[in-house]
């Protein structure tokens, strides 16, 4: 068979996905020029006037820019730190459970929150925080003497609420990854340590944690690479899009959505979006370069 024909048929298999990637991913990359235009729906994408960096100037003059960037970065840092600690802790304990069925049962429960949509999460949070019927106002508050309040109007509690919701939704899933890694550690290392008289805590400190260190660093770095991205649903749907909370719930992603779909300010939306893409690109590249130094196998490229 001809080499040429062979190549063609392999390419044919790649073609549908290739076409899709070009449309879905690459055309919008070239569309970033919209951020340098004063977009006007009546004039369309190509005929709107060029304005240079005006959109960015306006954006960064507002308090919005500072708030959304601050929130995006600080929440991500909190998620990375607490998420890693909780997930590694659970993973170490989980790896101790040798009975397969018990292990699977616990694991299933732990990852369940990760399998549901943020919309359902917002319902669950509502069941706790609803001012009239919420579990906290009506039951827990009575037991622990917390005053009834309208949680969706009280910004000061939301950083904690959002971190708790994040941990509830993601710590189990992260622990599955770490537990899989711990269980792949060579059993003979532990056997040897036992013979040397090491107790379980020493085994964790001198075998599990050092072996785990590398994968934890890689996972953390990959998260740091996405530090300018946020889970839209967590910051938009879970706080019920409550205006009183914008100060502590606005992230770059919620800002872009609100500017594009609610205030129809395409200029601001595209400027914020392009800022996110470019800074995100740089952080991913840097994070990946560090990962490659530590362990080339885990690098993205």
């Amino acid at each position: 068979m001809g080499k040429r024909k062979e190549t063609m048929s392999v390419l044919l298999l790649a073609l549908p996905a290739l076409v899709y990637l070009i449309i879905n991913n690459y055309i919008p990359m070239f569309g970033i020029f919209i951020a340098f235009k004063n977009f006007d729906y009546s004039k369309g994408i190509f005929k709107s006037d060029w304005v240079g960096f005006k959109n960015f100037e306006f954006l960064f003059m507002t308090a919005d820019a500072y708030i959304m960037i601050r929130n995006t970065i600080l929440y991500n840092l909190a998620f990375i730190i607490f998420g890693t600690i909780v997930a590694v802790g659970i993973a170490i304990l989980l790896a101790e459970i040798k009975e397969t069925r018990t292990f699977k049962f616990i694991q299933a429960g732990m990852i369940l929150p990760n399998l549901i949509s943020m919309v359902v999460v917002s319902y669950i949070v509502y069941a706790f925080l609803s001012p009239e019927y919420g579990f906290i106002n009506k039951t827990l508050g009575k037991i622990f003497g917390i005053q009834e309040m309208n949680w969706y109007q009280e910004p000061k509690y939301w950083p904690f609420i959002l971190i708790i919701v994040f941990l509830w939704k993601n710590a189990g899933y992260l622990s599955v990854i770490y537990a899989a890694f711990i269980m792949s550690i060579d059993e003979s290392l532990y056997e040897a340590a036992k013979i040397d008289g090491a107790n379980k805590f020493q085994q964790i400190c001198y075998i599990t944690l050092p072996m785990l260190k590398q994968i934890v660093i890689v996972m953390v770095l990959l998260s740091v690479g996405r530090i300018f991205n946020s889970d839209f649903g967590l910051f938009y749907q879970v706080p019920m899009n409550s205006g009183a909370l914008y100060d502590v719930t606005q992230t770059i992603d919620t800002y872009v959505y609100r500017a594009l779909m609610q205030t129809y300010d395409v200029g601001m939306a595209s400027a914020a979006g392009l800022f996110q893409s470019v800074v995100g690109f740089i952080t991913v590249i840097v994070a990946n370069a560090i990962v490659r130094k530590i362990n080339p196998e885990n690098a993205l490229f």
Binding site: M1, K3, E6, S9, V10, L13, L15, A17, Y20, L21, N24, N25, I27, P28, M29, F30, G31, I34, A35, G44, I45, L93, E96, I97, A108, M110, L112, P113, N114, L115, I116, S117, V119, V120, Y123, I124, A127, F128, E132, G134, F135, T139, Y173, V176, A180, K194, G197, K200, F232, M240, V266, A269, S270, G273, L274, Q276, S277, F281, V284, L300
Partner: protein
């Protein structure tokens, strides 16, 4: 030696002592919404949502059944979108993965780069929103729920490619080709059946993405008739009364004219996660595998 065994056992006890409460805390929120959905409406209004129904009631579910035209429709849309999206995604991702796995393909490096770069950079939502709405006019069509964002993703392609590389020896392919099989035939008859485990794993993860997605509809659907279950849920939490119709009050009896709205919200949330709860025991193995593969070396 004896002392050693004791410390080992006490650590296992400690594991259970921490994991079981953690598990309970993780599950409690689910119990809360399930319990609330089975509680009598008057009790809910007085005492709020609680972990055990103070007075058991099926009113919320009876009401939901009476509105099955709305809910069943949303369910149908979610199921349709999930199945079609997952099938297309898995098959075309596998095709692409095959092209970057075959060493005889001289374009494999370019193709690998094309898919890898999508993980590093994106144009953001604004250009893609304008493209889908102004050039492809997908607003208020079923395509809006299937096509944007999720039809191919780089992680899936790499997971499948890695599976090919470590499980399918080139020799198998070469042997088939000596027997006269074309690349397309090799892919269909040898590769796909041999990689069924990874295709199922990738398919389940993609299926979850489609089932749980509400962003595409948020951007591209204005007509509530095209809402899947997630977007129906969003609409419901803001405004429960649109479910009310004269039909319902006749079904519940004339004395229950009032909508059991407090319980109803939670019953809807339960309906939204029901397929996942039912399928979890069967899918668990694939889901945990998918999570690990997706995180490490995407």
């Amino acid at each position: 030696m004896k002392r050693l065994k004791i410390t080992y056992d006490s650590f296992r006890l400690l594991s259970f002592a921490i994991l079981i409460p953690t598990l309970i805390i993780t599950i409690l929120p689910f119990i809360l919404i399930i319990s609330a959905s089975f509680t009598n409406e008057d009790i809910l209004v007085r005492y709020g949502y609680s972990l055990l129904p103070k007075r058991f009631s099926l009113d919320a579910y009876i009401f939901l059944l009476s509105q099955w035209d709305i809910i069943g429709r949303a369910y149908g849309i979610s199921i349709f979108v999930t199945i079609i999206g997952t099938l297309i995604n898995t098959i075309i991702s596998a095709g692409y993965a095959y092209a970057i796995y075959r060493k005889n393909n001289k374009y494999r490096k370019v193709l690998t780069f094309i898919v890898l770069f999508t993980l590093l950079f994106n144009g953001g939502i604004v250009p893609s929103y304008l493209m889908w709405t102004r050039f492809f006019h997908i607003t208020d069509t079923i395509f809006a729920l299937i096509v944007p964002n999720y039809l191919v993703n780089a992680i899936n392609i790499f997971i499948i490619r890695n599976y090919f590389s470590s499980n399918i020896p080139e020799a198998v392919i070469e042997a088939a080709k000596i027997d006269g099989a074309t690349e397309l035939r090799v892919f269909r008859v040898i590769i796909l059946p041999m990689s069924l485990p990874v295709l199922i794993t990738v398919g389940i993860m993609t299926g979850l993405t489609y089932w749980n997605d509400w962003l595409n509809a948020l951007y591209y659907i204005n007509n509530p008739k095209l809402y899947g279950i997630q977007n129906l849920l969003i609409r419901l939490i803001n405004n429960i009364t649109f479910l009310q119709s004269s039909q319902a009050s006749t079904l519940l009896g004339a004395n229950v004219v009032k909508l059991p709205s407090t319980a109803l919200r939670m019953a809807m949330a339960v309906i939204g996660i029901l397929p996942i709860l039912i399928a979890l025991p069967f899918l668990l193995k694939f889901i945990t595998k998918g999570m690990v593969m997706g995180a490490i070396k995407g």
